[in-house]
């Protein structure tokens, strides 16, 4: 481990740095209770004394986290759980998050309202506090890569560009070494960790979705804060503890995650956010279906959104809408859902049977073609340029609301003090479908058929030589993925009141389209359950909340993908396999339950060391 060093970025004595960090964090926290600007014209209304709002709340949370992490450095026992690595990196990252949010806010106020004069004293205090805490935190001894261990690209050797390169490598933070847990913790600790983690997740997600659509500033601050906080927790090892706990209690985590998701509509007073929620769920569920095809079986499908379209159109045709070709027909929902699934299944087999004989790039091109054929065909089946089936570009509108067991999903219902609107009702329905798809995904991937999918992804020739009928197994994956997309499509048709050919294209400015779906899978992490769900949520929320990006959305999106592929090719949530594939650490991958009982030296001293440190 000669590639890392423990040095501060800013040369300061360690104790001074720690005091500075703490003091800065306290000042920042205090400042959030002051007014930052004089007018409520700035989004979030930061004018109130004694009551943080908008970006001030985000600042308060990150500053409080910085304070807590800084305090772990002062031998305070109970807080050690927050920072198992006992490194200063998390403190520095949280402090940078605070700094980022505060200074972004200050600059945004100055730019939006035209000049620094618009900042109230509270704003200046916050800026100074954040600067102090960031400087202090960077003065702490940090785990960093040595300058020599980092790759120096050719362009950095030119004198003009060398300073740029040096600036990019100022921080060089490295993930601190993690002490391997000496024993599996008590089950109740695991359960508590999972519950707290998921509850925090719900709160963070709810806050993000609840930010005002026109307050892009608040959402950017939110993104800065969650990104740096996530990295801080990653460096502290708290995130590892959480994932280890969830792998030990898979069923509990899944149930709690769904409970948390089901609580979401109750946190919203506004049905608009429930609408966002249900659309995110649809998008995420379809991405999870695509993950079977792309992530598990390794078939690059660029026309996947067509199956969502088939499901949506099938459901619309039998919905009883007056614009449907079969306007007299109104199936009950369970029958409509099965119809949508069956229609997508048939299309999946029809498209898969000829194309799955191709491998790699050829398959991608052919699926891309079929995806576009679907959209063009639907566009033209209006009775003039083709048979009358889909009502052409006008689509099928005025799809009636669903009734499930006499319960009209279109009406608002009141439970005690909560009123659940139309979209909240659909949210629950879609959540049920998401649960089904998650169950299908996990069960299928962890079975004989799932292993044969992964085997085909790894080496198709060897897989067939091991007795796997490659074509058949690939067709099953393709058809299963298609029918799951079709299932989501049936809900989508009802949620949106109408279907038309417009959204089912390869690439567009808004989800769902095949490119976004694929990006959600790749960005989130291929082959995992939570990856595509997270990726889809981010890809749906970001364009929705950053309205000012509208014209540059695809550009920003492309840039983000390039950066992600450069720095984290396995996706945000990495599957264990892929993590090893891309970051060959040279270590053998030893599962932790077999954590070498005979290596007594490390194991016996570690708890003592922790106690002594605490």
């Amino acid at each position: 481990m000669t590639n890392t060093e423990t040095t501060p970025v800013v040369p300061l004595p360690a104790n001074t740095a720690r005091h500075l960090t703490t003091a800065g964090a306290l000042i920042t926290i205090a400042s959030t209770f002051l007014s930052w600007t004089w007018t409520s014209a700035f989004p979030g209304d930061l004018t109130v004394y004694g009551y943080p709002a908008g970006l001030q709340i985000i600042t308060l949370v990150t500053a409080a986290l910085t304070l807590l992490l800084a305090l772990t450095g002062y031998k305070s026992g109970a807080l050690a759980r927050l920072n198992p690595s006992r490194s200063n990196n998390p403190t520095a990252l949280a402090a940078l998050g605070t700094f980022g949010v505060v200074w972004f806010t200050a600059i945004a106020i100055a730019v939006d309202l035209g000049g620094l004069v618009n900042l109230d004293p509270g704003g200046y205090i916050a800026a100074v506090g954040a600067l102090i805490t960031a400087t202090g935190a960077l003065g702490l001894p940090l785990h960093r890569n040595t300058r020599d261990s980092l790759h120096t690209p050719d362009w950095a050797e030119r004198p003009a560009l060398a300073p740029v390169h040096r600036a990019l490598h100022t921080l060089r933070l490295a993930k601190p070494p993690q002490a391997r847990p000496t024993s599996t913790p008590e089950p109740w600790i695991d359960r508590l960790t999972i519950t707290v983690g998921i509850a925090l997740g719900l709160v963070v997600f709810t806050y993000g979705i609840g930010t005002d659509d026109n307050a892009s500033e608040t959402f950017i601050g939110y993104l800065i804060a969650i990104t740096l906080t996530a990295i801080a927790l990653h460096h502290s090892g708290a995130l590892d503890r959480f994932t280890n706990a969830t792998t030990r209690h898979k069923a509990l985590s899944a149930v709690l995650a769904f409970v948390a998701a089901a609580l979401f509509p109750f946190t919203q007073s506004n049905d608009h956010n429930a609408n966002l929620g249900v659309n995110i769920l649809i998008f995420a569920t379809v991405a999870l279906g695509l993950n079977i095809v792309v992530g598990l079986t390794g078939l690059l499908d660029l026309g996947y959104v067509a199956f969502l379209g088939v499901g949506a159109y099938a459901a619309a045709l039998v919905s009883g809408s007056e614009f449907s070709r079969f306007s007299g027909v109104q199936f009950p929902f369970w029958a409509a859902a099965l119809t949508g699934m069956a229609a997508s299944l048939v299309f999946g087999v029809l498209i898969g049977a000829p194309t799955l004989r191709l491998r790699g790039d050829y398959l991608a091109i052919v699926t891309l073609g079929f995806g576009e054929i679907f959209r063009l065909a639907v566009n033209n089946m209006d009775g003039t340029s083709g048979p009358n089936l889909t009502n052409g570009p006008n689509g099928i509108s005025r799809i009636p609301d669903l009734k499930v067991f006499g319960f009209n999903l279109g009406d608002a219902h009141t439970f005690g003090s909560f009123t659940l609107g139309r979209f909240a009702n659909y949210f629950f329905l879609m959540l049920l479908f998401t649960a089904i798809v998650v169950l299908v995904f996990t069960r299928a991937s962890n079975s004989r058929i799932g292993r044969s999918w992964i085997a085909i992804r790894e080496d198709e020739t060897a897989a067939t030589a091991m007795g796997i009928n490659g074509f058949r197994v690939k067709l099953i994956a393709f058809a299963l993925g298609a029918s799951l997309a079709g299932l989501s499509g049936t809900v989508m048709a009802h949620v949106n009141y109408s279907v038309n050919p417009q959204p089912y294209m390869f690439a567009g400015a808004a989800p769902p389209n095949s490119a976004f779906l694929l990006a959600a899978v790749v960005l989130g992490g291929m082959g995992t359950v939570s990856g595509p769900l997270l990726g889809a949520s981010l890809l749906y929320l970001i364009p929705e909340k950053l309205q000012f990006l509208k014209n540059y959305e695809l550009l920003a999106f492309g840039l983000a993908l390039v950066l992600l592929m450069r720095f984290r090719p396995e996706g945000i949530i990495a599957n264990r396999r892929r993590q090893l594939e891309f970051h060959d650490t040279g270590q053998l991958d030893i599962p932790e339950q077999q954590s070498l009982p005979d290596s007594t030296t490390g194991a016996a001293t570690a708890p003592d060391a922790t106690k002594a440190g605490a």
Binding site: L439, A444, R451, E458, M466, G467, I468, R577
Partner: protein, 306 residues
């Protein structure tokens, strides 16, 4: 060592290849090769580089569709589809290891069980008692095989993180998981050190003792002649000779195929004279250069022969 065959069961033909020919455009890689393997036999397939050994293997296992000829396993002709060949009872390994690198050791072997289990998508989704029983049985069988090959302590490692020799063993374990009657090994000791080669030899004997016939391609002659009851020599796509190791070792056509035939004329004599001259020279200079000089002479002779 080769005499300790367990021939308690009557000999039965496991593999019968008749007139297998494989043409790639104008090139005939394998020409009219017949080969039979019986139960309890270890048969070696040797030949110089490019002789068509691996092509012949690919024809046997259905990866190639032979231009002419048939391959039969225990009397039934095999269709040229790799998964059907494996299902029938012929499993293989690859010359350059082809494991599922990002799957664990156990998962690799479980994939090998594919043809001997039949739980489809529905049973995976419904997870009835039958599914659990089948999964447990598969895992138990896979663990037996891992113990047999000495990899059981690495069940949860990714295949890619195993050292080279263990990857070869894992490939054999994966092939055995399909419960084959005939195992085809394509250069199982390539890149191994002598100890690992010895261990592989023991492993192959142990496999034979389980009643599985083995057909093995190898370049390590000592390995082949220790191991095999019968050896077939493939040269330029044609079977040159087949018999016990003594017969093959003594056959001058085999020696010629590997080392070349001497010319019947002056060049050899000149070469010989050169060698002798060099040797006497070296003897005068001292003993150091002798071996080198002799080798040089051999090399010169080999060049002349081509």
């Amino acid at each position: 060592m080769t005499t300790m065959t367990t021939t308690t069961t009557p000999q039965q033909t496991v593999l019968e290849a008749r007139g297998v020919t494989m043409r790639f455009g104008g090139l005939t890689a394998v020409r009219n090769v017949d080969l039979t393997v019986s139960t309890g036999e270890i048969v070696g397939l040797i030949g110089p580089n490019g002789a068509g050994k691996t092509t012949f293997f690919n024809c046997l296992t259905g990866l190639y569709h032979p231009t002419e000829g048939t391959v039969a396993y225990k009397g039934t002709t095999l269709p040229p589809k790799p998964h059907l060949v494996t299902k029938a009872g012929m499993a293989r390994t690859f010359q350059n290891i082809r494991l599922f690198a990002n799957m664990t050791v156990l998962e690799n072997v479980l994939v090998g069980r594919h043809t001997r289990t039949k739980e489809g998508l529905w049973s995976a989704l419904l997870r009835g008692p039958g599914f659990r029983k089948a999964e447990a049985a598969s895992e138990e069988r896979a663990m037996e095989l891992l113990k047999f090959t000495g990899l059981d302590h690495k069940r949860d490692h990714l295949a890619r993180s195993l050292p080279y020799g263990e990857q070869r063993k894992l490939e054999i374990a994966r092939a055995l998981a399909s419960e084959p009657g005939l195992l085809l090994l394509d250069e199982p000791t390539a890149g191994m050190n002598p100890q690992e080669t010895r261990a592989t030899e023991e492993l192959v004997f142990a496999i034979r003792d389980k009643g599985i016939a083995v057909l093995v391609i190898e370049h390590d002659m000592r390995f082949i002649f220790n191991l095999c009851d019968r050896v077939a020599v493939l040269v330029q796509g044609e079977k040159l000779v087949e018999g016990t190791s003594d017969v093959v070792q003594g056959d001058e056509r085999v020696v010629a195929a590997y080392l070349g035939t001497p010319f019947e004329g002056a060049p050899e004599d000149t070469a010989l004279a050169e060698v002798q001259a060099a040797e006497s020279h070296a003897a005068e200079d001292g003993t150091a250069g002798t071996a080198e000089a002799a080798e040089e002479g051999d090399a010169a002779q080999g060049d002349d022969d081509k």
